[in-house]
């Protein structure tokens, strides 16, 4: 489980400055901001734009293009479940439907108590041990309803 920093303009400025020397720095900057704050805060967008000599619209365009960048902080735990074909062949779809019903969330949603955010991904490269997921970055394989539930309970 990741602890994110509260929004801090000065800190955001430092993060941006640290990555600015790289060629094509937009993605490294956005990744660094998300690692610190858990998402790419709206207030950071004009700062990134100024630093990269882009318009705010262009930076928003980059943030919104990539599925990985979030505009809101996730719950205390982040669950990435694989929706791709190899996991489908092992019954992942039905497992995901049950999971989302049980948690009361849709894709990208966070449970009402703020415990878990469920993100769909298309492939984790764990296709030989599916159905697969990443829970707070920890790989999980050969999941079924019970095992996934147990992992979530153990984490919280």
């Amino acid at each position: 489980m990741a602890a994110y920093e509260p929004w801090n303009e000065q800190r955001a400025g430092e993060i941006i400055a640290a990555e600015l020397g790289r060629e094509g720095a937009a993605l490294p900057i956005l990744h660094a901001l998300q690692a610190a704050f858990g998402h790419v805060p709206r207030d950071a967008v004009p700062m990134v734009a100024t630093a990269l000599n882009l318009t705010r619209a262009e930076v928003h365009g980059i943030v919104s293009f990539y599925h990985e960048f979030r505009e809101h902080a996730p719950g205390r735990h982040l669950l990435h479940v694989c929706r791709a074909e190899a996991c489908q062949s092992l019954g992942a779809d039905a497992m995901h439907t049950k999971l989302r019903q049980k948690l009361g969330v849709d894709w990208h949603g966070t449970t009402a108590d703020g415990a878990v955010t469920v993100e769909p991904v298309f492939c984790l490269g764990l296709c030989a041990v599916g159905p697969a997921a990443l829970l707070d970055g920890r790989p999980l394989g050969r999941l079924d309803d019970e095992r996934l539930q147990a992992e979530l309970e153990a984490a919280s």
Binding site: R22, E23, G24, A25, A26, L27, P28, L30, H31, L52, G61, I62, F65, Y66, H67, E68, F69, H80, A84, E85, A86, C87, Q88, S89, L90, V121, F122, C123, L124, G125, L126, C127, A128, V129, G130, A132, L134, G137, R138, P139, L140, G141, R142
Partner: protein, 509 residues
């Protein structure tokens, strides 16, 4: 203290390898390795004995006390004892050129890498010079392992001949195809092979900087490769004097952000330059105007990692295996509902049936195999009737399929191919970069049409419409996403028509 090798491959971690390593820590010298790629046996641990390594698996942390009592560190008998790993049938049948060290060496030990034949290719390349390197790569017959199968030697020659203020080597490690994990395994299990391959490419075309674009879904590969880069710089494999020569070469890893389209080479370049990953029209080719407008080699990770072998063992050794115009080996990745899921590196030419039934052992569920998707989400679904198709770029293309990056996803008889066709369109809609209309709009319309077919509405008319739409997408899209998504859709429709004509309980409309 005896050494015990425990994989740190992400798939082994997903099955509890960390807990196994922790349970062993106070009893043996634990060395973390990559995976040999026999995932039904993971976590598979190996103990070093005077007779060689002895493997045990699949091992759970709870098995460790019993294993230790049975004399694990001496290779003692136990129900989980597998014997010498290299004698396992799954490994005997392979031709491991590119993945020879994966699962064997400590991925972060350059000494280990050297001891297992590493850096010989780069040393020979530096000695031979650019023209001879390109000649060797061309002679080997190596073709792009990302799926397009373009001759690597020609790509390198084009970049070498192009003029630019600077040149780049870009490694495409945005391995987004479902059913593929070869790039991930190599980055976690033998990262120096990629570094060596990229350095050889740098010498060949005159590039001093390389980028590896790794997908963000691979946190363990990212960490392993960054650690390897730091070691490579410290040990003089990268830097201003590569292996003591006058060549300067460094590599930087960049992390994607969950966009499948960034596996398309021009979209990847846009992303590296800091923009939305939208596809560029070609020409100009990246070899002429690639990253930041400079001549750039963009190669798949497996392509680059195959090069050290070609230089060290000679192009003839590589060229000698294969089938037709597909020379050398391909890491076939068995995935999904398959009994023996794993990485099987072999020369091209095995039939799909041999791969799925003989090597893969059929389904994990024990039910009959009904469909196999080869080549990721843009690959065709093949029925067992096409199992005589040899694994070869041309043979798959001739049957309206593709080899892609070598992923083979097996489905049993519970699969609904209409649902899979719908998913293909849904995936394309979610991942389209939006630049061209056939892909952006066609995928959404395609999803709607499949929905209507599945609901039993005007089935004949809608199948005709779907066929027409697929034709438009195939020939009108800018890149392979919109251009190839007709493969899974049309193969489902052609080979499994019964799934699209389910009798409706209630007449629709």
């Amino acid at each position: 203290m005896s050494r015990v090798f425990v994989p740190r491959d992400a798939a082994a971690l997903a099955l509890g390898a960390d807990a196994v390593a922790a349970a062993l820590a106070s009893h043996a010298g634990v060395v973390r390795t990559g995976s040999r790629g026999l995932f039904w046996l993971e976590p598979m641990i190996e103990v070093e004995t005077p007779q060689g390594r002895i493997a045990y698996g699949p091992v759970a942390a709870a098995d460790i006390p019993g294993l230790l009592d049975a004399g694990l560190v001496q290779g003692g008998p136990h129900r989980l004892r597998l014997g010498k790993p290299e004698d396992l049938p799954f490994l005997i049948g392979q031709t491991r050129f590119t993945f020879a060290r994966c699962g064997v060496v400590d991925p972060l030990s350059l000494d280990d890498y050297r001891a297992h034949g590493g850096l010989k290719g780069l040393a020979r390349a530096i000695e031979a010079g650019p023209a001879a390197i390109i000649d060797a790569v061309a002679k080997s017959g190596l073709r792009g392992r990302g799926g397009a199968g373009f001759p690597t030697g020609i790509k390198w020659k084009t970049t070498a001949d192009a003029t630019g203020a600077r040149k780049y080597i870009v490694c495409n490690a945005d391995e987004g195809d479902s059913g593929t994990y070869a790039d991930r395994m190599l980055m976690e299990g033998d990262p120096f092979a990629l570094i060596e391959g990229m350095a050889i490419a740098g010498v060949a075309v005159g590039a001093a900087k390389g980028y590896v674009y790794t997908r963000s879904e691979y946190p363990h590969a990212i960490a392993a490769f960054d650690a390897a880069l730091a070691i490579a710089r410290r040990e003089g494999l990268l830097g201003s004097n590569v292996l003591g020569s006058d060549h300067s070469f460094d590599i930087e890893q960049r992390v994607g952000a969950g966009a499948y389209i960034c596996g398309e080479e021009t979209s990847l370049l846009e992303s590296l330059e800091g923009r939305r990953g939208q596809v560029r029209a070609k020409p100009p080719l990246p070899a002429h105007k690639g990253l930041f407008g400079m001549p750039t080699v963009v190669n798949n990770l497996v392509t680059l990692a195959s090069v050290p072998f070609i230089l060290s063992e000679g192009p003839e050794a590589y060229q000698a295996v294969g089938y037709g115009r597909s020379r050398g080996t391909m890491p076939i990745q068995l995935a999904g509902n398959v009994k023996y899921a794993g990485l099987f590196e072999a020369g091209f030419g095995l039939t799909l049936g041999e791969i799925v039934n003989d090597i893969g052992g059929g389904t994990r569920s024990g039910r009959p195999v009904r469909a196999v998707q080869v080549g990721g989400p843009l690959g065709a679904y093949f029925p067992p009737a096409l199992f005589d198709t040899p694994f070869d770029y041309e043979a798959f293309a001739a049957r309206d399929g593709l080899v892609g990056h070598g992923g083979v996803v097996v489905f049993d008889d519970t699969v609904d191919l209409a649902k899979q066709a719908r998913f293909a369109m849904e995936f394309c809609a979610a991942e389209s970069c939006g630049k061209c209309t056939p892909c952006r709009i066609g995928s959404v319309r395609g999803m709607e049409v499949v929905d209507r077919i599945m609901a039993g509405q005007k089935v004949d008319a809608n199948i005709a419409l779907l066929t027409d739409l697929c034709h438009t997408m195939k020939f009108g899209s800018l890149c392979a996403l919109g251009g190839f998504i007709p493969y899974p859709v049309m193969s489902a429709l052609t080979h499994f028509p019964e799934d699209f004509r389910v009798p409706q309980k209630v007449a629709a409309e």
